[in-house]
């Protein structure tokens, strides 16, 4: 009976999806050529440089034209890391030392050397998000890999969770308040044209876009680092049955 319902539900879903997709004319260029003024892609390509002074059009779309989607993505990531933390986080007194052996001195020295460079690369990527490929998500993820290196190499290495929470919350508040400032001054959420624009192709350009990307970078880095730290510090449960076909 349950299976019948599932199959019926899937059939209905598939039916309506087929109808919806059949109305899309396949094989046509829906993005349009830059000469064809009527299409969305042409609008972005033609007007981004003058309107927002951003040389990376992808960044302008992600942060400004589709900025609300980016806010939603950051919120999804925040909820995911919060959920994981609420399941796996243990307080200080229950904390158990990690089960693995201390890592080799080669790994320790290498990570100590590489950690600042990786963090620097991440910061570069999200500060230059409006000039070069990359941005807040990419830079934040790169910074989190740097912290991951330190967490793997040193057993004693700990990131302060209250610090992470503060960074994350302040970055989120900064993002939303820039959006609200656009709403107050320009009439739409994340309206960018009321910020000073700066010179195209220079570091300070694009109005609020670099500020938002820096906030997103800090937020993503804090979230992913927190997730990795919680995952690594989870103690091994004795109740998990050890697998029988281990060779």
């Amino acid at each position: 009976m349950k299976k019948f319902f599932v199959i019926a539900l899937l059939a209905i879903l598939g039916f309506y999806l087929t109808i919806a997709f059949l109305q899309i004319p396949f094989g046509q260029n829906r993005l349009g050529q830059p000469q064809d003024e009527a299409t969305v892609g042409a609008y972005y390509l033609n007007n981004t440089k003058e309107k927002s002074a951003v040389s990376n059009v992808v960044t302008a779309i992600v942060v400004n034209y589709r900025g609300f989607d980016t806010l939603g993505e950051v919120t999804v990531l925040f909820l995911a890391s919060t959920g994981l933390a609420s399941i796996l986080y243990r307080r200080k007194e229950e904390e158990v030392e990690r089960i693995n052996k201390p890592s080799s001195s080669l790994l320790q020295t290498g990570s100590k050397f590489l950690f600042p460079l990786v963090v620097l690369l991440g910061i570069y990527v999200f500060i230059h998000g409006h000039l070069t490929p990359g941005g807040g998500f990419q830079g934040g993820a790169i910074i989190a890999t740097g912290f991951l290196l330190m967490l793997i190499a040193y057993q004693k290495y700990h990131v302060s969770h209250s610090m992470l929470t503060w960074v994350e919350s302040l970055a989120g508040v900064l993002f939303v308040s820039i959006g609200l400032w656009g709403l107050i001054t320009g009439g739409t959420f994340l309206e960018n044209s009321y910020f000073p624009k700066g010179v195209l192709n220079s570091l300070i350009s694009g109005g609020a876009i670099p500020i938002i990307y820096i906030a997103v970078g800090f937020k993503v880095a804090a979230e992913l680092t927190g997730v990795l730290d919680i995952l690594l510090n989870t103690k091994e449960e004795k109740s998990v049955p050890s697998n029988q076909n281990e060779k």
């Binding site: 990359g134 990419q138 697998n243």
Partner: protein, 95 residues
């Protein structure tokens, strides 16, 4: 020249499908996780060749490094080998 480029992308895509099938069929989950990391690596190269460097950067940082490591940590805390007799997912209420 353009045919060489397209051919390289098609070859990479076929390799990607092969590695992904290997990851599905492998019983040793550690090998399977490394194979998914390789899938992300090939995918990010394909993205770069298709002129999407933003997506390639995201795929490289999240797909290759963070997801793989998260799965490795999970495997270390649970079991390494896939058990054929175990019922999959949440459907084991019938016993």
């Amino acid at each position: 020249m353009i045919y060489v480029y397209t051919g390289a992308i098609v070859l990479l895509a076929m390799l990607l499908v092969y590695v992904a099938l290997y990851a599905i069929r492998q019983k040793d989950l550690l090998y399977a996780v490394i194979a998914t990391g390789v899938v992300s690596l090939i995918l990010s190269i394909v993205f770069l060749m298709l002129q999407a460097p933003d997506v390639a950067l995201t795929e490289a940082a999240i797909g290759i490094a963070l997801t793989t490591i998260a799965f490795v940590i999970t495997i270390r805390n649970t079991a390494r080998y896939e058990n054929d007799n175990a019922q999959s997912g949440f459907n084991n209420k019938k016993e």
